[in-house]
């Protein structure tokens, strides 16, 4: 019994090759937000890539950059891959007023020296106009000072807390800390008796899951443990048993892992008959097509996934454009929250660049324009996105809960605010949203 989704082309070719070679041996093996569209039908409200004019951009390229973590157990290249797909679509549709976008993505393996060097390379050697779509375990803490010194206003899909607590970085997502908090809020509403959380043993991993304990405490629910697990996980069954034993009957378990790692634990829990022992929740990475395809019916309605972004099959114009671009330009990247993050980041910068006069297409001009972004509406987020002249940025601070139902996610809870806690800045941020009119609050 197995399940699937996502990329087909390379696997298909590989499978065909293997089928061919094995056939002789066994008979069994014979076996943002404007109008237009990239492909297929378009409606008056449909979103489009850039100018949407169907003409290839041929002018001098505008260079953007990103830094992304790709290492065993942690691979965020689906985010930058989707941003690249979006820019490819833009370049096939008139580019930025005729100029194509060149997107330089640097992979890193959580080596601070490497990450510092890559940021310097992008800014000084590649002379990028902006850094957009970076998703790294250590880029924000390592490079935020550099970005501040060089006047770069960076748009990321954030992971460590420094992506949400420094003046020159703003994320399209809310990151594992706030998302885990949202998952814990869901479990509180589900009436759990205790709370347990497990996350990846990566830099900042302990902080990422600390909000769960704080939410439990704020709601007078006993916290029964916060576990950091080495990734890739090699003993998922043991972890599943450990978590359910710690939580006890009627307890709640919050997971904060990438899709492949979290899925291992859930499937192990199913094999061990532990699905109904506790209530399960997962931060945003769980909102992934390959995950929900792999989860059996035993999980129907029994896993609350905190979705920082809309359902991957939602029918808003931006999400439909996201689906089309994925199909046409990035078929190997599964539909999921990671892809949506890359899409939103690329959408924001594309509209920002399109709104600038040619003489402002410089690092100074572009980064000044980024800081002025406010009320950027997209149906993929709960609230309009903004950058703003703030000391800390958490523009995405409301989200949904989705649950699996017969291999698709359905919405369980509509948009709700992530709870303010001591030290998570949300009280201050929401006051500034109102006073500065950043997102229509």
């Amino acid at each position: 019994m197995s399940t699937s989704s996502g990329p087909k082309r390379p696997r298909f070719a590989l499978a065909l090759a293997v089928i061919g070679s094995l056939a002789v041996l066994t008979a069994a093996c014979g076996g943002g937000s404007t109008g237009g569209s990239t492909a297929g039908s378009s409606t008056t409200n449909a979103s489009k890539c850039g100018l949407g004019n169907g003409q290839k951009a041929t002018g001098a390229p505008l260079t953007l950059g990103a830094i992304v973590t790709k290492q065993p157990g942690t691979d965020f290249t689906g985010i930058t891959g989707m941003a690249q797909a979006y820019f490819s679509c833009v370049n096939d549709n008139g580019g930025i007023n005729g100029r194509p976008v060149k997107y330089i993505v640097e992979n890193e393996q959580t080596d601070p020296q490497q990450v510092a060097a890559l940021a310097t390379k992008l800014i000084d050697d590649d002379k990028v106009l902006a850094i957009v779509g970076s998703t790294s375990l250590i880029d924000c803490p390592v490079n935020h000072t550099l970005y501040e010194q060089r006047g770069f206003n960076v748009i990321v899909a954030g992971v460590p807390f420094a992506c949400f607590s420094t003046p020159n970085i703003a994320a399209v997502n809310m990151g594992p800390y706030y998302s885990s908090e949202g998952a814990a809020q869901y479990l509180v509403r589900q009436g759990v008796k205790t709370m347990v959380v497990a996350g990846a043993n990566v830099p900042g991993g302990d902080h990422d899951i600390s909000g769960v304990t704080a939410i439990a405490k704020a709601n007078n629910i006993p916290s029964k443990g916060a576990f950091l697990e080495n990734v890739p996980i090699s003993d998922a069954s043991g972890i599943a048993v450990q978590l359910t034993q710690a939580a006890g009957d009627g307890g709640g378990v919050v997971l904060n892992f990438t899709p492949p790692e979290g899925l291992k634990i859930l499937q192990a829990a199913e094999q061990q008959g532990l699905v109904d022992k506790v209530k399960w929740a997962w931060s945003t990475p769980g909102n992934d097509a390959s995950v929900v395809q792999a989860l059996g019916p035993a999980w129907n309605g029994k896993l609350g996934v905190n979705a920082e972004l809309n359902l991957v099959d939602s029918t808003g114009p931006d999400n439909e454009l996201y689906q089309k671009i994925t199909k046409q330009y990035a078929p190997t990247i599964p539909l999921g929250s990671f892809g949506q993050m890359g899409f939103v980041a690329a959408d924001i910068i594309t509209h920002t660049l399109l709104g600038l006069p040619a003489d402002q297409l410089t690092p100074q001009g572009v980064n000044a324009a980024i800081r002025q972004i406010k009320n950027f509406k997209t149906d993929i987020l709960c609230k309009p996105w903004y950058y703003g002249d703030l000391q800390v940025h958490v523009p995405n601070n409301a989200d949904r809960t989705v649950v699996p139902q017969n291999h698709v996610f359905i919405q369980k809870e509509g948009c709700f605010d992530i709870a303010p806690l001591p030290g998570n800045n949300l009280d201050t941020i929401r006051q500034q949203e109102k006073s500065q009119g950043l997102n229509g609050s």
Binding site: S2, S4, P7, L25, C29, F227, P232, D235
Partner: protein
């Protein structure tokens, strides 16, 4: 004191698969002198291919599983035929490093073809099971342990009682003398490569259910099997099996202890280090005497 019963079940199942892998490594080493570091990667790619055959081509599950096992056997055999003879006279370390290169090729192929998304391959045996008190025991866990024990016994009997098995053992002692006695060296070595590869394919399928279908995780789970094989001195199948079971058990049972649980993945390394020190100490005493 945490309830260790579920961890005992999990540990025995995982240990059984470690033992199965270790036996595959030892049989190959005894016949060819090659420590095959690509063992895990071959199993991982076989399991991923089974996943593709089921999901992309709609092949029946059992057909796909057979293909995964056959893939393990064939790809390992091809490697052995191509690289075994040229490297036969080289140092064992060089032979092992060559398989490391093969591992990296397989790892790159898997990363290219399967990207970072979540995959899932659950053997149908998992659906069958029974409750032992509050512990759920499923068919794949029993299969993992049972296959480990059966293969160990079968391999030991094969090496002791069959003509080709005896030839493999004599090859391990002295390749050139064995050849001069008329033993078809290349054919015997090919049989060892094929057998080891088939076991790697089966191991990959079992581990994809017991551990998860994960490229890096499955590739490097070979480390636990290597530790078991080292404890068996790359010679004793029974010691390898016992070590595999012990590693699985200890690693699983450390899980609920918060003070040492986070370090449980070091278990195979600790076993290997202790074993090497013990062997070294024993050799020192002998030489002193």
């Amino acid at each position: 004191m945490p309830d260790l019963r579920p961890f005992l079940v999990l540990g025995l199942a995982l240990g059984g698969v470690f033992a199965l892998s270790g036996v595959g490594l030892v049989v190959l080493y005894r016949a060819t002198g090659v420590l095959n570091l690509a063992y895990g990667a071959v199993g991982a790619l076989g399991a991923l291919i089974a996943w593709s055959l089921i999901n992309d081509l709609g092949l029946p599950d059992w057909g796909a599983y057979l293909c995964a096992v056959a893939f393990g056997g064939i790809v390992t055999l091809v490697y052995g035929i191509l690289f075994g003879p040229p490297l036969a006279a080289r140092d064992p370390l060089i032979k092992a490093v060559a398989t490391l290169g093969f591992t990296l090729i397989l790892l790159g192929t898997m990363s290219w073809a399967y990207s970072y998304q979540a995959h899932s391959l659950i053997l149908p045996t998992t659906e069958w099971g029974f409750d032992l008190g509050e512990v759920r025991v499923n068919g794949t866990q029993i299969l993992g342990l049972g296959l480990g024990l059966v293969v160990t016994g079968a391999a030991a009997a094969f090496l002791r009682y069959t003509k080709i098995g005896v030839a493999m053992r004599s090859l391990a002692n002295h390749r050139e003398i064995t050849a001069t006695l008329g033993v078809p060296v290349r054919r015997v070595e090919a049989a060892a490569w094929l057998g080891s590869g088939v076991l790697s394919g089966a191991t990959g399928l079992l581990l994809s259910t017991l551990v998860g279908l994960d490229i890096v995780g499955l590739t490097f789970l070979v480390i636990a099997s290597l530790s078991a094989a080292l404890i068996g001195r790359l010679e004793s199948l029974v010691a390898t099996m016992a070590a595999g079971l012990a590693i699985g058990l200890v690693q699983a049972c450390l899980t609920p202890f918060t003070s040492v649980g986070p370090y449980r993945t070091m278990t195979p390394f600790l076993f290997a280090i202790v074993a090497l020190l013990w062997f070294g100490f024993g050799r020192g005493r002998l030489s002193t005497a």
